[in-house]
């Protein structure tokens, strides 16, 4: 598989792949990085928003 990098497209086999993620009540995030030696040459991230704040409406009694 070819990976888009700062050096152009490179074969994935030439790169070190790292994956990770983060999750809390607000979001679920995953990311993937490709490294060439000690250089980060690609990083993508995917954020899924879970439940953004609600706007609450109220009415006033007479």
């Amino acid at each position: 598989m070819l990976v888009n990098t700062i050096h152009g497209e490179m074969d994935e086999s030439l790169l070190e792949k790292k994956e990770g993620g983060f999750e809390d009540g607000n979001e679920k995030t995953t990311w993937v990085e490709y490294w060439l030696d000690k250089d980060l040459v690609h990083r993508s991230a995917h954020v899924t928003l879970k439940a953004p704040p609600t706007v609450v409406g109220e009415i006033q009694e007479f």
Binding site: I6, R43, A45, V47, P52, G57
Partner: protein
């Protein structure tokens, strides 16, 4: 049957659709008075150092993400796909939620931004770039990659924009 004081839940969705007009705003024409077109809503990204919050009234380039290299991000952000009609649902006789979520994710490809960002502003680009909502998430950086914001499920409990009564 007793009467119960409450904001009507259907009103919450109808506000999002523009059924009710309390004031006399200067609007950009929606082509027809009786069958108006959708406004265009966009999502712009902001650096973690920006100061967007509830007092934000309109889209601004101040603090907006800029490319470290390349042209993956364009000022103004991405247009949100607006194929979902706002809906509403009651949970009790006094509580309900009107809600709406864009019908597709927002995505930026071939992106390189090395300064961290953690914020997205949804705004109405048809009506003077008026602000709708500010969303935050963990700091992000992208190198020659793709940044995708997947929308939450379009139901009352999780939709991207929710107006509720309690």
């Amino acid at each position: 049957m007793a009467n119960t004081q409450s904001v009507c839940t259907s009103f919450l969705a109808e506000v999002m659709q523009g059924y009710h007009q309390f004031g006399q705003p200067s609007l950009t024409s929606r082509t027809s008075l009786t069958s108006p077109t959708n406004d265009t809503f966009k999502l712009a990204l902001y650096f973690s150092s920006a100061t967007l919050n509830a007092s934000t009234t309109a889209y601004s380039t101040t603090g907006e993400v800029t490319n470290t290299s390349g042209s993956g991000y364009t000022a103004g952000g991405a247009t949100l796909t607006n194929a979902n009609t706002p809906a509403s649902t009651n949970t009790t006789t006094t509580a309900g939620t009107g809600y709406w979520t864009p019908s597709a994710s927002a995505s930026w490809t071939s992106l390189t931004v090395s300064t961290a960002w953690n914020c997205a502003l949804m705004y109405n680009s048809t009506q003077g770039n008026r602000a709708v909502a500010v969303y935050t998430f963990a700091d992000q950086t992208i190198v020659a990659g793709t940044f995708t914001l997947t929308m939450p499920t379009n139901v009352a409990a999780t939709a991207l924009l929710r107006l509720a009564t309690t």
